[in-house]
Subunit: 466 residues, 2 copies
């Protein structure tokens, strides 16, 4: 549902105020929300108060710094919060005169920069009242998002993670870092007030208890708020793998035509057989796997030898090229030269006549992403443009770059989403295929390549994203 807002309306500025003890996954949740909203073209940025404290010179504090009776450090932490909040208001204001086009898929608010996340413990009512007051002064809607957790395993994993990766503990051994960090948590515990519907009944808030085990939702009113709530409701923290593959080489690929519903070429059929081997070799024996395909026959043929549960999704169908369906890029350049250029100039936004843009595909993929967040192991066999959009979500590829990511045929991609990024592994089938990558400004697609041609794959994305 791409939506274009035509009339003017006041910008909606939403500040998601994180609440929770250290090691409760606040930064993890913040990062996921940023990635999700950014992928939907909703401007979103995270402001981590710890980073501001480090800017103020306190870059490797011991736990005593977080003693709430320590007035000197209290003032530093207050100053860090003020800096963060100042940046939030500037970030909102600096963009309030931006265009009033809303293609976010929603009809409520959400102009270019709409969601700031204030990532800090915000553990006392006093602190939260200060934030409320400031939000009120700046016309910002506050929404509190608490992560409350008493699951020892989750907390231990988070402590280990922070002790080994936080700049606060850089250069320290894990053991002493963990010990210090546990004492820091105790300091916060002594002043922590959790949100509750008695004391905080007038606030808009969501409280996640042990991730999605129990959720309390209070005064959620706008579309954007409910969208964020629905997303965090669906977050799971079990480790999993997402496997991605394009269909095998199709007859249309060989003929350099786009769209259509053609069958696999002989080499494409070989890939279908090989895919079963690749999956067998790489998926643990006892792991369940769901195979998702589009409704088009080339993806179903590619999945035909896989002995797993299969689902067909219409939402996984290739980007609809409208009047250009079935044409080669050369023919398109010939028949619709202006469209051809317009698409190269802004490939993400360009909508084929009677067809779709990348933005349209992202919007229709949103429920697929939501379901992927909930699921364990999934293999998705789909099409070039659709894979680019899914890949962009997991790898945080900026939307302008996502339509240009090279994803060759006959290659299996393994994504492992982890707390602070997604690990990607490429597994080549070593079965030659044509290249279908069209470089900007040309109507030529790459030369036929052997499996080595995959070297330029994914050049636009880092191997590990955050």
């Amino acid at each position: 549902m791409a939506v274009k807002r035509i009339s003017n309306e006041n910008d909606m500025k939403l500040c998601v105020v994180m609440v929770g003890l250290p090691a409760r996954g606040k930064s993890y949740i913040s990062q996921k929300i940023v990635r999700y909203l950014s992928w939907l073209s909703i401007g979103c940025k995270c402001f981590n108060v710890g980073n501001y404290r480090r800017v103020l010179g306190v870059d490797k504090p011991k736990y005593g710094f977080f003693d709430f009776d320590n007035m000197a450090s209290y003032h530093v932490r207050e100053a860090a919060l003020e800096m963060a909040f100042k940046d939030i208001t500037e970030w909102f204001d600096g963009n309030s005169d931006s265009d009033n086009i809303d293609n976010t898929g929603h009809s409520n608010g959400s102009l270019t920069h709409s969601v700031a996340i204030l990532d800090a413990t915000n553990s006392t009512r006093e602190r939260r009242d200060w934030i409320l007051q400031r939000c009120h002064e700046h016309g910002i809607q506050p929404m509190f998002l608490e992560s409350w957790c008493d699951d020892p395993e989750t907390i231990a994993a988070n402590i280990k993670d922070i002790a080994t990766t936080s700049p606060d503990y850089e250069g320290q051994d894990e053991c002493s870092a963990s010990q210090d960090f546990k004492k820091r948590i105790e300091n916060y515990k002594s002043v922590y007030s959790s949100l509750n519907t008695a004391d905080d009944k007038s606030l808009t808030f969501v409280k996640l208890i042990n991730i999605s085990h129990e959720i309390v939702i209070n005064r959620i009113e706008t579309y954007l708020q409910s969208r964020i709530v629905f997303y965090v409701m669906n977050i799971r923290i079990r480790p999993k793998c997402i496997w991605l593959s394009r269909h095998g080489e199709s007859i249309y690929n060989v003929e350099q035509k786009i769209g259509g519903d053609s069958s696999l070429s002989e080499r494409g059929l070989k890939y279908a057989a090989k895919l079963r081997e690749l999956i067998n070799e790489n998926v643990e024996n006892n792991e369940r796997l769901s195979v998702w395909t589009s409704t088009l026959c080339r993806t179903q043929q590619t999945a035909q030898y896989l002995p797993y549960e299969k689902l067909e999704w219409k939402a996984l169908d290739e980007l609809d090229a409208g009047v250009c369906d079935g044409m080669t890029y050369e023919e398109i350049e010939d028949v619709y030269p202006e469209d051809f250029k317009a698409r190269d100039d802004d490939k993400y936004e360009y909508r084929y006549r009677g067809g779709e843009s990348y933005r349209d595909v992202v919007i229709r993929l949103e429920p697929v992403i939501m379901e992927l967040e909930r699921q364990e192991n999934v293999l998705i066999i789909t099409h070039q443009a659709v894979l680019r959009c899914i890949y962009a979500y997991f790898m945080n590829v900026p939307k302008e770059e996502s339509p240009w990511v090279s994803i060759p045929l006959h290659t299996l991609i393994k994504l492992e989403p982890r707390a602070y990024g997604t690990k990607v592994t490429l597994i080549k089938a070593n079965i030659p295929a044509v290249s279908t990558y069209k470089e900007k400004g040309t109507s030529h697609v790459g030369e036929s390549t052997d499996a080595e041609g995959a070297h330029n794959m994914l050049v636009n994305a880092p191997e590990m994203t955050q």
Copy 2:
């Protein structure tokens, strides 16, 4: 996301067990869920225990019947619950051998008959434990859905509604019915245990507090559960109007072609001007109105004179006729005779080559419906097939019939969703237009009509649905 399930999997049987005092909107919420899930082709049925009690002969009980110390009546109410539950298990089992196709847009479960709603007060833990035990014995997933409410206005409105419409009070004056009903509520209050995360932490439940003011969610695990939660989160009870209109007559309409992106005819432009008048006359002065159009120019031209906030939704674009886009029905019958017949045989499921089916349109409209539930007054200017799908949602038209509902050009439709149905009013613009209604089994569309031609409109839908 139409999804087709290919492999077998155990049926998922979900029983939504309503909880709450009388007059807390349980039946209203139950009916809305049935309508929503049915529209998405998820088999859903409500089992109201009060109806079973009436079948057992207790059809006009006084409040004393609901005294929990009255053992005789206790046994009747127990028997009614047992009858209801027996019907639920038979309803599930009678369909467990149905086909394993899932086109519901989800990948989790949801075969043909998947959600039973047990609509009763279920106000004691003892009663709920009995239900839990039975669900367990029959392989049914229980999900409790409590409506807790202390808002005097909402309760008073519900009491009035029940006193005037419930079969329990048929023939009684409103005043004495209300008095009796209030005493009935007091009887329930004396034994009522609300769900809470301490005593009920092992249960899957949602607790709505004053509709969507505050929501507690516990152990929501499956997709279908989270889908229902998201839907009830978005329910609002403020009265509102949904205005629907097709675009004005287009050049393609005149030429009897389907699809395309043509402009309005001269008569279509007249309708655009007239629409402003009709809206002015019918919408209260101080009411806000949002105008939603598709991305196609004929809907935007139709909206051009309306002085309201406007939104363009890609999801409101006309059903994509794929290879048949731009053809007349006669041409389609000529070129694709088998497809033409297949579409007539099952118009809801038929997907145009390279295009969409009605089911596909319903799935992409789902976020529009969700947003309509949240919004106040909205005017939607869109296309024949899309309007049929939206109309089917509000008027509860069975999916097989929905593609055949006649919705003529140049007619404004006013929908007023109310607690127990949707009121529909037709407002004709009295501007002639061609008919675009194609009867089953022919390739002819209706003769050109004047405004009187609208007499056969909406023949397949009752004026007031429940």
